[in-house]
Symmetry: C2
Subunit: 248 residues, 2 copies
């Protein structure tokens, strides 16, 4: 049983955005995949939970970005569980490119929910002695911020209906598609010259297939972009990006 788990990914053509560098949402695919592989090693996988009619869901993410590599680069994703409460598990990731350059540090928070009631379950009721999996000797990545926004009139809004290609094995909107839809609000122009320094994501509520959502977007300062996804007027997701408009 490995407390620290590592996996490598070669950045494919489609993992990059139009600038030829790893896109942030595709980096998100890498960490979720690595988390799944590590969970399988630890005996706490989605598959194990599915037999108990339960599943993992993500409640929050914090990203600190350093240098996003180009297509073809191999990146190493290292992960470990760095904390837990009765119902939450904190998992950190350190992503480094083959030359040893830091790509990103990421922290994530997870819940186990009952697949029918969609309510959280106590971790110790599902897994015996869950806290023994925590690697407490490590330097922990900062936790995500709890976000609360009050948008001004005139915030930009994008309507979106959830489609087949947006949903994951839980049949709800895939967590990295929330992020991708948020990044889309920044527009391609931003990514030509700008850079995201860090991001905090709050997953408030599940969004199901064919539901319509509205993404609200506002710049609260030249360095801070805020987004809130709503369904029937109620928030389901929030994101805050610290940006710099000149990447050099």
């Amino acid at each position: 049983m490995l407390n620290v788990f590592e996996n490598k990914y070669k950045i494919t053509y489609n993992d990059s955005d139009f600038t030829g560098r790893l896109s942030i949402a595709k980096l998100g695919n890498f960490i979720l995949d690595t988390a799944g592989l590590h969970a399988a090693e630890l005996g706490i996988s989605m598959r194990v939970l599915a037999e108990k009619k339960m599943t993992w869901v993500i409640s929050g993410l914090h990203f600190a970005f350093f240098d996003l590599p180009e297509t073809g680069t191999v990146v190493s994703v290292e992960t470990e569980i760095t904390g837990c409460t009765k119902i939450t598990c904190k998992r950190d990731f350190h992503i480094v490119s083959e030359g040893g350059r830091r790509v990103a540090d990421i922290s994530s928070e997870w819940l186990v929910i009952n697949a029918l009631t969609r309510r959280p379950v106590f971790l110790d009721e599902v897994f015996k002695d869950f806290s023994s999996l925590v690697n407490s000797n490590c330097g922990s990545v900062e936790k995500y911020k709890h976000l609360r926004f009050l948008f001004q009139d005139g915030a930009e809004v994008l309507k979106y209906r959830v489609m087949y290609s947006d949903i994951d094995i839980n049949a709800h909107l895939y967590s990295m598609r929330y992020l991708e839809i948020a990044l889309n609000m920044l527009g391609a122009g931003f990514f030509k010259t700008g850079k995201i320094l860090s991001a905090d994501l709050n997953f408030v509520s599940e969004v199901l297939y064919n539901q319509e959502v509205e993404m609200y977007y506002e710049k609260s300062s030249p360095q801070v972009c805020r987004m809130e996804m709503r369904r029937d007027g109620k928030p389901v997701f929030r994101a805050e990006f610290q940006i710099c408009s000149d990447k050099n």
Copy 2:
């Protein structure tokens, strides 16, 4: 210089759809990535072309599907150039899973275009003796069908605006996103019980960032689904899927 090139991919969590099996559009990512790696070996890569202010674009695809594997399976993608004309290059793919089961056979047709005029260029004017790269000893995969549709009134229509996450290094709608948007028209319900046996795709015209398209969808028989993407009323993409509604 390798006339036949092979690369392997482990199907990640995000490469699968909600059924837990490799999604067709993500299989498309694998073949495009493999094509790019092979092109680099042959000295005919996008990067080489970019220096001449040219690029590869795809004009058509034919897929024959056998058995789409589950998340975690390693698949091998084998590719070779199986034909060329003055302006087109045909590239075939054979995808097999680790146990040796056939996943899919795919053929693709490519053009080199001038990045400024967006018009095709003679292959022999760009690459010395292009036809020497053709592996003519191999059993070739069927070429894509040229599609022409006349939709009835009452065809389903989906409007879509091209966003940051949809565009590729050429800054136009990524070829596999055309496919993904087409698959979305079938709806998640179809994929629960149904199966796509084969597909033909025609890429008629580039679609750029922020352009709005309409996807038309009609079943011409219980086994055949047809889609046409239009921009300003003019076709930019067509797809035909041979389906069976019971996957077993």
